[in-house]
């Protein structure tokens, strides 16, 4: 990339998004808020995958530059698993809401003995 944007720019960006997602997961009592934090964390992981794919994925073979797409393929798998995780997580949230009439995670402590 010509304009002086390096791998480090993308890594720091994804690190900031990860930190915000981690704070969201740790500080929320709302179960849906926790799931949104997990989505932020998965997005930051994907930025890392694509940044390493873009800046380290090319393989120079005798002058010609062949490009490997492994990072992008892993990013697609992460997106697929994020979709499955969101669907299951929100189904669990709805089931909790039906039983407890709240989605405050500190109220659902029946299993904590």
């Amino acid at each position: 990339m010509g304009g002086g944007i390096t791998l480090y720019h993308f890594l720091v960006l994804s690190l900031i998004v990860f930190g915000l997602g981690m704070y969201c997961v740790l500080s929320r009592r709302n179960a849906i808020g926790i799931l949104m934090g997990v989505e932020l964390i998965l997005n930051s992981a994907n930025i890392n995958y694509l940044a390493f794919d873009f800046y380290g994925g090319a393989k120079g073979i005798t002058g010609a530059v062949a490009y490997h797409y492994d990072g992008q393929i892993f990013a697609i798998f992460v997106i697929m698993l994020a979709a499955a995780e969101a669907v299951i997580g929100l189904a669990v949230v709805l089931a909790i809401y039906q039983n407890f009439k709240t989605i405050d995670v500190s109220a659902t402590e029946t299993l904590s003995g």
Partner: protein, 165 residues
Amino acid sequence: MLQQIIFYALAALTVGSAAFTAFSRNIVHSTFALLGAFMGVVGIYVLLAADFVAMVQLLVYVGGILVVTIFAVMLTQGIADVTVSNREVGVIPALFTSVIGVAVMLYAVVRTQWHQTPVPAAAPTTYAIGNAFLGDYILPFEVASLVLLAALIGAIVISRHEAKE
């Protein structure tokens, strides 16, 4: 120069929206701020020459996950009590843990000499990704469809009403 302006604009959109998602006390506002974060990440993907992944992100995250999240927010909250349901506990420990974790990782990221190759010219990626999915990655591709089927059935089983009479 233009690249830098675009990158910083997208980064500002992403980080600003993510911060609003993390710090807003209103869960509905958090959910809508998540839209900005996802759109900013789509732009970042395009900047990284990943056109196919960017479109997948747009379709799956914005078109799917965000809509399902908004559905869940609307179904579980009375709109009237949205503000009280997002109470935070342990803000100081959460902030402390996050800042410490980010600081350690920032140190590691900045200090490491990453292996970098010459950046390739941007080219369409869909053809190569499709070939990889039906070639080297055929087994994970098939397992992924199984995972999605299991998630589909699991979501139905978990969330349906048990009719007990």
